[in-house]
């Protein structure tokens, strides 16, 4: 039985529909990313799971119990917001203790032990007496995480936890959050609009767009077998072209490029070469003038003496082609 069951959730704000009939199942211990463009309803869904917002219809089950009408305080989750919402008038440990102090039956020393444990987990124990404003962005983020896990919640909700950080710190924290999540084995729902974050961290990804779920699957499934053009386009780069009245799609790295004229599917005009270190991205146009881009190793590119305004021959391997019914992309 799934740990979190979200069944046919509908949420309207005034007349605008923020969520239309969303259903997702989340297994115990997995990290699920909700991924989608801005305004598609990710935060709203998270807040409904948290009980901070009430759906217009639909149900939420937590660990098999109907939690649809349960207030947030009774749902036993930890939450981290994009802004972290650390209490600036309390120290790091004060922030963590704020929730623990609610547990009236707990001895004071136990609360302290628990708080310290949580801070050690995120490697902030030495900084426990500092105030949030004395911490770097990454440390603030970890404080928020420590505060969220200190109460041993049964699941964790993260709303774009890394988006306020710069790229380097973000990379590092991705790994750390994932490691902590694994070591605690805690079911986690994380909202993000960063596809790389979703692909690297998630067990499964829920792709949303315009208030609906477009696809649910493992990162590999989502990347290799996007079930519709939106997902294909939103995650990674995808080439689309028309063939036999069908829309075909193929990833840049799956297109085979040669100089030789034999056995090719298309001739393409090279518009620009983009050197990316180990890889080189080739931007070109197909005879029907549609855009195409291809990734080849930089080594191969120099061997082939590719140059701008030249012509190359492309092969689209059948096993990597995805066909969609003829829809506009």
């Amino acid at each position: 039985m799934p740990f979190l069951e979200i069944i046919n959730i509908v949420k309207k704000f005034d007349k605008q529909i923020a969520l239309s009939d969303i259903s997702v199942e989340i297994e115990k211990g997995e990290l699920v990313c909700i991924l989608g463009p801005s305004g598609c309803g990710k935060t709203t869904l998270l807040r409904i799971i948290a009980g901070l917002e009430t759906a217009n219809s639909g149900q939420i089950f937590i660990d098999g119990v109907d939690a649809t009408f349960l207030p947030a305080a009774k749902r036993n989750f930890g939450i981290v917001f994009q802004s972290y919402a650390l209490f600036p008038n309390m120290t790091v440990i004060g922030n963590v203790l704020f929730g623990l102090r609610q547990k009236k039956w707990m001895a004071k020393s136990d609360m302290h032990t628990k708080a310290c444990e949580a801070l050690r987990l995120v490697d902030l124990f030495e900084h426990k007496d500092k105030f949030p404003r004395q911490l770097s962005g990454g440390m603030q983020q970890r404080t928020a995480l420590a505060r969220a896990v200190a109460l041993s919640p049964s699941f964790l909700l993260l709303d774009e936890p890394l988006s306020a950080l710069d790229a380097k710190v973000r990379q590092k924290l991705r790994g750390e959050i994932r490691a902590i999540q694994r070591s605690l084995g805690i079911t986690t729902v994380m909202v993000t609009h960063d596809q790389e974050e979703a692909l690297t961290m998630a067990d499964r990804i829920v792709v949303m767009n315009n208030a609906v779920v477009e696809q649910i699957g493992t990162p590999r499934e989502i990347y290799n077998h996007p079930t519709n053009p939106f997902v294909a386009n939103f995650i990674g780069t995808m080439n689309f072209y028309q063939h036999d009245g069908q829309t075909c799609a193929i990833r840049p790295e799956n297109i085979v490029i040669t100089n030789r004229k034999s056995h090719y599917d298309f001739a393409a005009h090279v518009k620009a070469l983009e050197f990316k270190g180990p890889m080189t991205r080739v931007h070109g146009t197909l005879p029907d003038m549609s855009e195409v881009c291809m990734d080849i190793s930089s080594e191969a590119a120099s061997e082939m003496r590719l140059n701008e305004n030249g012509t190359v021959f492309l092969k689209m391997p059948q096993e990597n082609l995805i066909n969609y019914a003829n829809t506009a992309v």
Binding site: T54, G78, A85, F98, G99
Partner: protein, 554 residues
């Protein structure tokens, strides 16, 4: 249970609802109900029968009464003109020139805020009255009592308001506009009329209405210095406190509401078009060097400041001398106030009243603002609450005073017991000065992260605890500002409380009026000094506290 009912219940926060209803109910009782009594009185005759517009036609057909309207318009217009122009120039000097001593000038501009309007009038008497220093020196050959005195007093009273509004508006300037104008060779006058004035045109309108309304409805200055020159505020007092003609008093009360209503209407019309906020790309204005300009504005600021300081100095002279102007030897005997005017007790009564008004008022305003800003749902109730929150801006103290009499002095009212106690004074002050602190509080709460409550509720922390442990400490500067504002205003106010104080519980600002009426100018000046002292002290404590908080947070 039906699912949609359960959904409603799961969203329903019982304690939020209780607190919200409680504050709204309290505010309705002290704001809406008394106003309702006022209006109903205006349309009843003395026997309590419905009289339609009879009271109004009687009012307008009594020449001595209807002349007051003309008088009031007259003095309000002139004083607004003076304080508006001076306030603008003064603000311009501080915001757009390179003169020295800006901080000093900024504080001296606030002097009038710290003393009751009756004291402005008193200071004027010392300067320009029949025995005034300047009159005796032959420098003021005019009659102060009457129209002229009121106009000058109201101009002093409204100057800080005009100055502050213009200062805020002028401080923000889009430097790009001025650079562009410079590159086209525009003259300073062209820059003023083509850029500066259009940029602040809404402030001009607002400042006009604020000052006009204050001058139109002020009671203290006309009472002390008006002589036989009648205005609406003194009429209302005579009708109610002198002749017990409540219905006529109510009629005048409704007339006092007119400028504020006009200002609301204009504000609505104007603000719907006013989206000319400064864009994010605005650059800071570089103030060019200009010795001539700075010299002019420095002289202007010095003159205004000198005038205020002179006025305060006269209070010292009057308060500390044996018998001005005949015997100027130093004495403290004026501080032994006559018992008939309330004695020194009236000062302690005022302190007590101001402290209670500030303490209860701050708590009430802050909780009210919190309920408007930090809870979800209850849309209709919160809309009603927001509507009420701006209404006190339109209510002159005189109107609050008489409507409180009408409402609370009614034997049938279960709240009748607060009539004649300190409680009604405190309540009237909280109502009178509600709106500005409310804007301060809600502005501050809006800036707090809106997820604090979400995080806390995820940790099962009750909202009242988050309120006390997070929202209140983080809003401490705003809370102190509100406290100070309420305290200072409660110390200086006359208009509402003049109807409501009890003979056994006199208060200082009213005592000053009585001392002046009895010709005890020395004591009046001494009492004014005591009020000034406590207000300046409170202000200093406030500034010190803010400084400590800021240092701790850096």
């Amino acid at each position: 249970m039906n699912s949609s009912i359960r959904r409603w219940f799961s969203r329903f926060r019982f304690w939020q609802f209780v607190v919200l209803v409680a504050v709204l109910l309290a505010f309705t009782v002290i704001l809406v109900f008394p106003l309702f009594s006022l209006f109903s009185k205006a349309f009843l005759n003395n026997a309590g029968e419905f009289a339609g517009f009879d009271n109004y036609s009687k009012y307008f057909s009594t020449p001595s009464l209807s002349a007051s309207i003309k008088n009031t318009l007259d003095i309000a217009l002139w004083s607004t003109l003076f304080s508006g122009v001076l306030g603008f120039l003064y603000a311009f000097a501080l915001a757009r020139t390179r003169i020295r001593w800006k901080t000093f000038f900024k504080y001296t501009a606030m002097i009038p805020i710290f003393i009751p309007t009756v004291v402005h009038a008193l200071g004027l008497v010392y300067m320009f009255g029949r025995q005034g220093v300047l009159t005796r020196a032959g420098l003021f050959p005019f009659e102060l009592y009457g129209r002229l005195g009121i106009i000058i007093s109201e101009a002093i009273f409204t100057f800080p308001q005009a100055f502050l509004m213009f200062f805020v508006a002028l401080e923000f300037a889009d430097g790009r506009l001025y650079e562009a104008a410079d590159s086209m060779g525009a003259s300073p006058l062209e820059k003023l009329t083509r850029i500066t004035l259009p940029e602040i045109k809404y402030t001009i309108i607002n400042a006009f209405f604020v000052c006009f309304t204050l001058a139109f409805t002020d009671f203290g200055a006309p009472k002390v210095i008006g002589g036989s020159f009648n205005v609406l505020a003194t009429d209302i007092y005579k009708q109610v406190a002198g002749q017990f003609n409540f219905n006529m008093g109510a009629v005048v009360g409704t007339l006092l509401l007119i400028p504020a209503l006009a200002s609301f209407t204009v504000d609505r019309l104007v603000s719907s078009k006013n989206s000319g906020t400064i864009s994010a790309k605005a650059t800071k204005l570089m103030i060019a060097k200009s010795i001539k300009r700075d010299a002019f504005f420095f002289c202007l600021c010095s003159l205004v400041t000198a005038f205020f300081l002179f006025l305060i100095a006269m209070l010292f002279v009057g308060g500390l001398s044996e018998h001005y102007p005949y015997n100027l030897s130093l004495t403290l005997k004026n501080f032994l106030f006559n018992r008939s005017a309330g004695g020194v007790d009236s000062y302690f009564n005022s302190l007590k009243m101001a402290f209670l008004s500030a303490a209860f008022g701050t708590a009430f305003v802050f909780v009210y603002a919190y309920m408007m800003e930090k809870i979800n749902g209850f849309g209709a109730l919160r809309k009603y609450g927001k509507l009420l929150s701006v209404l006190p801006l339109a209510l002159p103290g005189m109107v609050i005073g008489i409507s409180f009499i009408f409402f609370f002095n009614d034997r049938g009212n279960p709240l009748n017991f607060i009539y004649g106690t300190i409680a009604i004074l405190v309540v009237s002050n909280i109502l009178h000065y509600f709106s500005v602190p409310f804007f301060t509080a809600s502005g501050c709460l809006k800036k707090l992260d809106k997820e604090y409550e979400s995080v806390a509720s995820s940790m099962n922390v009750p909202q009242w605890k988050t309120f006390l442990r997070v929202s209140v400490p983080l809003s401490l500067p705003a809370i102190l500002e509100i406290f100070m504002y309420l305290f200072v205003n409660a110390m200086v106010t006359v208009s509402a409380v003049v109807f409501l104080y009890n003979a056994k519980f006199k208060i200082a600002a009213v005592a000053i009026i009585h001392m002046e009426e009895a010709g005890n100018f020395g004591q009046a000046a001494a009492m004014s000094l005591l009020i000034l002292a406590i207000n300046v002290l409170v202000r200093i404590l406030y500034e010190a506290a803010i400084k400590i908080i800021k240092e701790k947070r850096l």
